[in-house]
Assembly symmetry: C2
Homo-oligomer: 344 residues x 2
């Protein structure tokens, strides 16, 4: 897209879907012309957050809006999602020492206060679980019909001695996922459409700062890349990591942890869990030498029991994601949009 045609277009649902169309929009509109600053991670890097020098440490900064529909779903709600989303974006920069969070609340006129209190309780419970504090907030109200219910925006600030980007993969590195994939997206989809897929589908939404801390302790500087596979799923996140790192990533299909209930729901719906959003999972790029010990550390943690090594980085297929099915290999093309709008 060039500016001439860009200015004639309109925003589509695909632009919010976490995949290629969204990244194009962000690049063409917000990043284009933004200066990069050496030794910093800012807007132009399109990482999970920004990182700038503060004395001899790094200050990490991140923001996320949450528009999930419905706001209450099996396994969580918009409040838990907002806190975990921001905690996880900070953790995915290697920053587990979180200074504090902010939360902006936007409400539709007529929104039931009982539901707002539920969201409030959920925000607080997630903060307690993650060991973080909500320090500042803002409340706005839009008229009836001007907003569909409730939207939250959370931002977060953390400090860290070392930043782990999403672009640090090297040939030879292993890719670990911290648990089963596809749970969040399918739980929201099932709840939204009353698909009657059983009670088993539950969002995985959870704060990962503690889990990432364990991984960093176990792998040290050989933990070279972190990203959470939210909108667009593992496929989008890994494709982006491969591109930014300029390596090929070969994913072993047989090693992907997928729960039984997700597998059958996904088959029924014709959706590949690889493309479905997660809200409590990390992709961790590690040096081959430390892969097993990082895996063992993750599995000690309740949120990492089903962690698995799912792939490796290679010199070939630079910038691409390749699926090894056991019978052959095929390129995974990132979706242009995503099947599920307002998933987070």
């Amino acid at each position: 897209m060039r500016s001439a045609s860009l200015a004639e277009g309109r925003v589509g649902l695909k632009h919010g879907a976490g995949s290629r169309a969204m990244r194009s929009l962000i690049r063409d509109v917000f990043v284009d012309g933004t200066p990069t600053v050496a030794d910093e991670i800012g807007l132009a890097e399109m990482d999970d957050g920004a990182a700038i020098r503060l004395g001899d440490r790094w200050l990490v900064l991140t923001t996320d809006s949450h528009v999930v529909q419905p706001p209450f779903f099996p396994g969580g709600d918009i409040g838990r999602l907002a806190i975990c989303g921001t905690v996880n974006d900070l953790a995915m920069m290697g920053a587990t020492d979180i200074v504090g969070l902010t939360c902006g609340v936007i409400l539709e006129e007529g929104f039931p206060l009982a539901e707002l209190l539920e969201v409030r309780d959920s925000l607080r419970a997630a903060c307690a679980e993650a060991g973080v504090r909500l320090l500042a907030g803002d409340t706005k109200v839009m008229g009836k019909g001007e907003l569909d219910g409730i939207v939250l925006n959370t931002s977060g600030v953390a400090l860290t001695d070392r930043v782990v980007p999403d672009s640090g993969l090297r040939p030879g590195d292993r890719v670990i996922v911290s648990g089963t994939i596809g749970d969040h997206g399918l739980a929201v989809l099932a709840r939204r459409n009353d698909l009657g897929l059983g009670e088993g589908l539950r969002s995985d939404v959870a704060p990962l700062n503690d889990l990432v801390r364990l991984a960093l302790e176990a792998g040290g500087s050989e933990v070279v890349a972190l990203k959470d596979p939210t909108r667009g799923g593992v496929a989008s996140a890994l494709a982006e990591m491969a591109t930014k790192s300029d390596v090929g990533v070969v994913l072993e299909e047989a090693s992907l942890p997928v729960s039984e209930v997700v597998r059958s729901a996904a088959e029924l719906l014709g959706i590949d869990p690889l493309h479905v959003a997660n809200e409590g999972k990390a992709l961790i790029g590690v040096g081959e030498r430390v892969a097993e010990q990082v895996l063992a550390a993750l599995r000690e943690h309740p949120l990492g029991r089903r962690a698995a090594i799912i792939g490796r980085c290679v010199e070939e297929h630079r910038g691409q994601l390749v699926l090894d099915t056991g019978f052959g290999r095929r390129l995974i093309t990132e979706l242009e949009g995503e099947p599920l709008p307002r998933i987070c």
Copy 2:
């Protein structure tokens, strides 16, 4: 409002209006039960932002959502508003050394990309004007009819050696306003309703970090309180400052700077400019001894030309705002809501 009745209610437009109803909602829902930490400003203090210790300095953190309707108005747009709103909230904590901002963008499906590019340009221009950097962002899309156009959320981080709260007024202090009042609210209202009130009405939206720096340099530690009179106007902001500071504030009606065009539009509409939102003004509480020199410093700055001493703090009327009309005195009661929803 107690929790029992609270849980039966619904959100109303008044809850977003910056006045009493909004503060009650925030207090009853979000602040209630939040622990206060000695020597910190957090959620419970309901100041313009939070301030926590970071080594021997303070880290200041703030967030604001922007839902202004229409998004383009005389004198500014939602992009300029978002940057200035957050820069000003930081400045109103005394923090003019701004580390960086984040911006979350939420768009309605079908929003014209040409308008998004305009907002982007405006975000950038306001950042340049304020000398701040936008470091991280997020983009979400909601379906057609699920959001009225565009919403922005900006958060900001700053560092400061000294925090200036909104609660620092002492009997004897003077209150300065940095310029004319009511401009933003009336400009948006006139544009929204095509009131044909002439081209003269323009929003005052502007970044105040530089102006506040001048005030702090001129007044030093005798600059004891800062707040920007946004939603709810000067009346709400000063009433809140009086309550939190436990002093009476006597406002001299004759000294309030109001432009001719605002004065006549307000008269026509039957709205008191004291209750109308500003987006480029500061209320500054200063010791009597330094009042004139702070005023002189403000007037040297393009954004402070019409600064004026508008009131003084007294022992009587604790927690209240009193208007001295020149003929007598009357209490200014804060409005329950505000006449103008979605003003910022």
